[in-house]
Symmetry: C2
Subunit: 192 residues, 2 copies
């Protein structure tokens, strides 16, 4: 009966995500966003909604991408410890390569204290990340690659929060070797 939406919503969210990622929620203006998304603000308000709704969708999109990555890694049939070590090395590479750090952490510190929806998304993301680690640890123990008296729950929780600090370190020191050494020490610790 009528006209269809002209722009690709998924692509637009992707582009908006990059803007929020770089500038933060308050630092990104609607003009920044609509320019990057290549749509008019009326189209934005007719389809997605206001700035907060757009931000929520972007954060959700970001965590969706991570979830996909975790699922792929979990599906691997290689030894769990190998998968875990590779994941850590990959995380380090991202910390070093990504100029704008991590959207999830930035959003947590800027928005999760005041926006309950953002907090819920990031909490779910964090819990999924821990479940991913827990599962790998459980497997690695079963495969005899790791022996520990600590519970996989505690270790997963601990590991997950450990490399968050690496992001901040890299912002301040911009020193890849620093991060790599910490990761090296971290991996060495797991083996014990």
């Amino acid at each position: 009966m009528a006209r269809n939406v002209e722009f690709n919503e998924a692509e637009a969210i992707q582009k908006a995500m990059r803007v929020f990622w770089e500038k933060g929620y308050h630092g990104a203006s609607l003009r920044d966003l609509t320019t990057a998304m290549q749509i008019n603000s009326s189209s934005l308000y007719n389809t997605i909604g206001d700035k907060e709704e757009l931000f929520v969708r972007c954060v959700q999109h970001y965590t969706d991408l991570r979830k996909q990555d975790w699922q792929l890694r979990l599906a691997s049939e290689r030894p769990a410890l190998e998968v875990l070590v590779e994941y850590i090395q990959c995380a380090v590479d991202i910390i070093i390569a990504e100029e704008n750090s991590c959207l999830a952490i930035k959003a947590a510190f800027e928005m999760a204290t005041s926006d309950e929806r953002v907090r819920a998304i990031l909490k779910a993301d964090s819990e999924y990340g821990e479940a991913f680690l827990r599962e790998l640890l459980r497997k690695a123990v079963a495969q005899g690659a790791i022996q520990t008296e600590e519970s996989p729950e505690l270790l997963a929780d601990y590991f997950n929060s450990t490399w968050k600090g690496w992001h901040e370190s890299y912002i301040l020191h911009k020193d890849p070797i620093r991060i790599k050494k910490m990761a090296q020490y971290f991996i060495k610790q797991i083996g014990k």
Copy 2:
């Protein structure tokens, strides 16, 4: 020959710091700030400067307070390991008690990527924090309380970035027990 400044600059900075701490740089408006500081914007611009300058001063003030705390703890004559453990427990208490998390971390993620002055202040703060830990570790080893094959440099760096992640965890999960358990595990690790 003339009138003196009416307001106490140190007190005003302290009040502005609390606003930035809660709302972030972009989230805090000049009206928020001048209202909290109980001064007129003309006074602000005549004495301190613009918003960025005020923010820099607030972050500097925040890191100055931390530095004082570290110096006091370093001056203690009690066993170094004891001082270290107490410091960690104190850090945990702050994470749990402080509703607005940590200004230094928030500023790092929001501003340090785009504002070189903020980055420099936070980098110096981070380095001082590491030196504090390094010194405690060095003493603890000398006192025979710790034995490790790792360098104090690496360990200090690693420790320092470890509890940054705890802040994010607490924002998302608001779970004091989670943090306490991680701290417990962390302290246990040091002893080994």
